[in-house]
């Protein structure tokens, strides 16, 4: 069996250094697994030549004792909306089906320079518009925890970074990069039972991330443990001169305290009551309640707080999303790159047909609505109004984190990530894309409004055998405390990310 899959990244690279395993073997195994678990459809394309080349180089470096970083030789996967030079980057859309970027996204460049091994690009909802990874030209991604993968009874992996979550949950790679605009990393992390981190807006460079909503997008990290997550974050975080929306201060590598050194007595946990919304499943509520209790037993102060504008968040998000989409998609005309129709009569005819053929329905309707909301006559009433409410939402967080006295403030917020465990595909698909997002993103997208960091951690399995996860949020640039508390919870609940039958069956 693949023992090495049980290892965390630090232990894996230690094994490389000891000579117990070779990066080459691990890469071979990973590519093998990717093929064996093809039914999940986590990957849209594998990069075996590149992976083996990188693995060989890594092995060589270990032999010479000249490794690049703590991630040297670690297999990873990248969501297909991150530019990878020379490798197709499609955003799961016909529009970019043949697009080969001439440059690397900063996140990927940093990982590459750190010596990681790229297994391939992962599946997503087209242009990151969705919460299920069901709207892709490559077909949907299935949740590895599904009871039945073969028929129509499979569960969704969540979205829009479902492929990356799946790849990690299925043990194909140790870490994967996704993106998070309204919950696109935390949502699939929650359903697939892995760690999903949304860093502070501006902490990780967006250069090379094909944007959905520029003012909210962040690269997201999937791993099977908090410790692994910290390794990856330490590699990719920090200012980038190519991205003017990165926070311009030197990044100090995170160092979490050892488990036995964690003292929760100075930690104040807040439970925002509004996050118990209509539709929250009983099991999720129970999970939330229990973990809050655990934290209190661990010494933390736990109190209920209020974030009054929470429910407005989804409407604000939808407005801003549609407007930015209308703008960001304006460049897809088929002239410089992308799908090009054959109608050559006029620029507008060509553009219209290229875009009609290249975009799916979800993208088209968002463009149309976005343009409507941005019309001069509508701008103040919708767009500017949404931005004002956005400030109210951000202020809600600021108030609980810092505005009041020590007795009133909290350090960490504990909430559900998704309202339930992973839905069946057929139930999910019955709803419109907008309604899917509205329900799924309820707990996740306020963090994107405010730009604060948030992480989803798996806690236990539901009665249906599917992961139930919770979300922690904290103030801007407070990743260290956030992940410290997350690691404490992780240790308490002892969730085994790879304990599902498909992962075993596929390999025997």
């Amino acid at each position: 069996m693949r023992r090495h899959l049980q290892l965390g990244i630090k232990q894996l690279t230690a094994s490389y250094a000891d000579g117990h395993i070779s990066p080459r073997l691990v890469a071979d195994t990973a590519l093998d697994d990717a093929v064996k678990l093809k039914t999940l459809n986590a990957f849209v394309r594998l990069t075996p030549e590149l992976a083996l080349h990188q693995a060989n180089e890594s092995a060589h470096r270990y032999k010479e004792g000249q490794i690049h970083s703590n991630l040297d030789g670690v297999p990873i996967a990248i969501k297909d909306n991150f530019s990878t030079a020379g490798v197709l980057t499609t955003c799961a859309s016909r529009m970019l089906e043949d697009f080969v970027p001439p440059y690397d996204a900063t996140v990927y460049a940093r990982l590459r320079e750190a010596g990681t091994v790229l297994l391939g690009k992962t599946n997503m909802d087209q242009f990151a518009m969705g919460a299920g990874t069901v709207d892709s030209i490559y077909g949907p991604t299935k949740n590895v925890w599904s009871d039945d993968l073969s028929k129509d009874n499979w569960r969704i992996a969540g979205g829009s970074s479902g492929g990356s979550a799946s790849a990690v949950a299925a043990g194909i790679c140790y870490a994967a990069i996704g993106s998070d605009t309204g919950g696109s990393t935390r949502n699939p992390a929650s359903y697939c039972g892995v760690v999903g981190l949304k860093p502070t807006y501006g902490l990780v460079s967006r250069y090379g991330l094909i944007p959905l909503v520029n003012s909210m997008d962040v690269p997201g990290i999937f791993t099977r443990s908090i410790a692994d997550c910290v390794e990856v974050l330490n590699t990719v975080a920090g200012p980038d001169v190519k991205d003017s929306t990165t926070i311009r201060r030197p990044f100090k590598r995170l160092q979490l305290p050892k488990l036995e050194e964690i003292d929760l007595r100075s930690v104040r946990i807040g439970i925002p009551k509004e996050y118990h919304c209509e539709g929250l499943s009983t099991e999720m509520l129970e999970t939330w309640t229990k973990v809050a209790d655990l934290l209190e037993s661990g010494g933390a102060t736990v109190r209920q707080v209020s974030l009054p504008n929470t429910a407005a968040s989804i409407f604000v998000y939808t407005i801003l999303n549609q407007c930015e989409v209308a703008s960001n998609m304006a460049r897809y005309d088929g002239i410089e790159y992308g799908h090009r129709a054959t109608d050559d009569r006029s620029t507008e005819q060509l553009y219209a047909h290229s875009r009609a053929e290249g975009f799916n329905h979800v993208v088209k309707t968002r463009i149309l609505t976005g343009n409507f909301l941005l019309l001069r006559k509508n701008y103040d009433h919708y767009f500017e109004k949404a931005l004002r409410v956005r400030r109210l939402i951000a202020q809600d967080f600021a108030k609980v984190f810092e505005a009041g006295s020590v007795e009133e403030n909290v350090d960490i917020l504990l909430t559900p990530t998704t309202l339930s465990d992973a839905p069946l595909y057929k139930d999910f698909a019955a709803q419109s894309n907008r309604d899917q997002c509205a329900v799924q993103d309820f707990c996740t997208q306020p963090a994107n409004m405010a730009g604060i960091p948030a992480v989803s951690i798996p806690v236990r399995l539901s009665k249906a055998g599917l992961p139930l996860s919770l979300q922690l949020m904290s103030n801007t640039l407070n990743e260290e405390l956030l992940l410290t508390v997350a690691s404490w919870i992780e240790n308490q609940v002892g969730f085994d990310c790879l304990q599902n039958k498909h992962v075993y069956e596929a390999r025997s």
Binding site: D98, V100, P102, Y201, V241, I247, R248, P257, L259, E260, E261, I262, S266, I271, E274, H276, C277, E278, A292, D293, L294, E296, V302, A312, F315, T318, I335, E336, S346, T347, E348, Q349, A352, H353, R355, A356, K364, I367, L368, T369, N371, F372, L373, L375, H381, K385, L387, R388, R390, R391, A394, E402, G451, R460, T476, L477, N478, E480, T484, N491
Partner: protein, 161 residues
């Protein structure tokens, strides 16, 4: 001294113990058993948003045509209209939220100095790469159909710009 987040404290909390404790032996957790009165609300918190479905919206054909030209996504007009109506109803939910004296939050980085770049040539000179993904090029030019002939017209009249 650079100004970044004047209204945020820098966190240096790390929650560490001074004494070392052994990690507790893990036991199966009972999710139904609590040791403290819970702070988690056990019933949903109601949200009050106006019901906007009743409002019958009028969007004139001129606006629809304008939108079709601005979007160039070739949606069926009836479908476009339906989409818009539904979206507007959704967006209208926040119309009544009081935002007096609240400035729009364009970016969470509003108090950070915008980065400035030195005036030197560091890019360009990569014609092959830049043209590579274009489906049609001609001797180092991109190729596009003639000018902006509005969608409605079928006869071509070249726009002499």
């Amino acid at each position: 001294m650079l100004r970044f987040f004047p209204n945020l404290r820098f966190y240096c909390k790390s929650a560490t113990k001074t004494e070392v404790h052994l990690v507790k032996q893990r036991v199966e957790l009972n999710f139904k058993e609590l040791q403290h009165p819970t702070k988690v609300p056990q019933v949903p918190v109601p949200t009050a948003f106006p019901d906007t479905t009743e409002r019958d919206l009028e969007i004139d054909t001129k606006t629809i045509q304008l939108l079709e030209r601005l979007s160039l996504v070739d949606l069926d007009s009836a479908e476009a209209l339906a989409t818009l109506k539904s979206s507007i109803q959704f967006a209208d939910k926040i119309a009544n939220i009081n935002t007096d004296n609240v400035r729009p939050l364009y970016t969470v980085l509003e108090s950070q100095q915008l980065q400035l770049r030195n005036d030197e040539v560091t890019e360009g000179d990569c014609r092959a790469e830049v043209l590579r993904n274009a489906k049609i090029t001609d001797e180092d030019y991109y190729v596009s159909p003639p000018g902006n002939i509005p969608l409605e017209q079928t006869e071509s009249q070249f726009d002499k710009n």
